[in-house]
Amino acid sequence: MITIQDVHKWFGKLHVLKGIDLKVTEGEVLVLIGASGSGKSTLLRCINGLERVQQGQVSVAGIDIQTSKTNLNRARQQIGIVFQQFNLFLHMTVLKNIMISPLKVKKVAQQEAKETALKLLQRIGIPEKANVYPDQLSGGQQQRVAIARALAMQPQVMLFDEPTSALDPEMIKEVLDLMRELAEENMTMVVVTHEMGFAREVADRIAFMDDGVIVELGKPQQFFENPQHKRTQQFIQRVLQA
């Protein structure tokens, strides 16, 4: 579903991605772990073309993301992304937030878009908030709306960029539960997170990034109990102590 080949990315002189190779198969949940600045968010943003790479290739559902010939607007309809800061549209009601892209990008009929949006709101458990503005929601609710907004486009892939890092502890669970449901429905997901419990439980594979390279890639059990690389061992040790 997602193929990343020898990707290099520089910000000015800073070499942030140093030759990434990665394959994510259909229905797989891949969790990206690593310290801040290791390049995991940048890698995620390369998958939907928010960042351009200087070398290498990224393809999603057979579409080459990083060549200028690709119609990115069309490609991105297949790729949902959820951000740390939710990034809901503050001037629109919750319902409108979910409807806007199906309406304007996919040109879905008003009635159909509304029905889909209402169903999604039902699903994330806040149908009564349809006509409320985002700033009247809790952080957890906002993030769930952001997920619903991405799902409304019926993407083939969902990317999550630290979706729970800006949330109060008691709201993290409601967002993770929703993501867990998505995983059970065989959504292809790439998740950047610091939630080790989620990684261990939900991930099919975990990729550990350090200084712009993937140093370890494997099943959760192997990753947590028998890490091969020295950096991974240090990381796991620190995380488990905390």
Binding site: L72, N87, H91, K104, D135, R149
Partner: protein, 270 residues
């Protein structure tokens, strides 16, 4: 069940009315005193000016026309220039900057004179009849719109830049084009933020339309000056003139205030 809130609301209303009465009384008192002092030297002949109001009304229409066209041009061109200055293409950015820095740094009076006496005449083929090129309303509104666009573009630019970049990223990530994101996400939010400064600029535009008297466009100020040449009633004429301008600008302020209020009902954070 909430007597306290109701009482609180009433109290605020009463306070507002009291303030309005106080201000009116104080202002009125000063005005009357001033008027008395002036009346010791000058005989007010208000009776003689009332039948000049039709002339003022004609001037009002021209002021409204010039300001209206100027606003339309200023806002549309201002938005275009702002988008150019925010463009990813350096050439557009530079052209936008050139426009703003040139127009904003020429005195508006001189720009009006330059447009009407300079450009319009220079465009005329040698020996041709002045004709259309002498349309003062056209050249006046054009000058007004062109230089106001430079100020208005800066208001648009600041407004658009104040919307977090992540709003654009989120829109683009869902497959919207740059223009769709601008239209549905960025601009609607920017418009809310720029309502107050934009109002100020549009009021300034109306006031600056008075400068068009230098090209003898018979707008309000030209009318007052012209009438003053015919009869020695300058005080009366210019008082009426000021009242006419207030009659245009105060409603603009009120509309802006109402718009702001409407935006804020549902959106407390800007």
């Amino acid at each position: 069940m909430t007597p306290k809130a109701v009482r609180g609301y009433d109290y605020r209303a009463v306070k507002l009315v009291m303030r309005a009465v106080l201000v009116t009384a104080f202002g009125g008192f000063i005005a009357v005193k001033l008027y008395d002092v002036l009346a010791q030297h000058y005989t007010f002949r208000w009776g003689l000016v009332w039948h000049q109001l039709p002339a003022f009304n004609e001037g009002l229409i021209i002021t409204l026309e010039a300001s209206g066209i100027g606003m339309l041009l200023g806002v549309v061109l201002g938005l275009i220039v702002a988008l150019m200055r925010l463009s990813p293409f350096a050439l557009f950015r530079d052209m936008g900057t050139l426009y703003v820095q040139t127009l904003r740094n020429i005195p508006s009076l001189i720009f009006i004179i330059f447009m009407y006496f300079g450009i319009s005449r220079a465009l005329l083929p040698r020996g041709a009849n002045v004709g259309f090129m002498d349309n003062r309303l056209f050249w006046g509104s054009l000058a007004l719109g062109l230089f106001e666009a430079s100020f208005i573009s800066e208001i648009f630019r600041a407004g658009i830049q104040s919307i977090s970049k992540t709003q654009m990223e989120a829109s683009r990530s869902m497959g919207m084009s740059y223009w769709q994101a601008m239209r549905y996400v960025i601009l609607p939010q920017a418009f809310r933020i720029i309502t107050p400064p934009m109002t100020g600029e549009l009021i300034a535009l109306v006031k600056e339309s008075a400068l068009l008297l230098v090209i003898s466009l018979p707008e309000l100020t030209w009318t007052a000056k012209d009438l003053g040449h015919q009869r020695p009633l300058q005080f009366e004429f210019y008082t009426i003139l000021a009242a006419y301008y207030l009659a245009i600008t105060v409603p603009i302020s009120i509309i802006s205030h109402l718009l702001e209020h409407r935006f804020n009902v549902h959106r407390r954070r800007a």
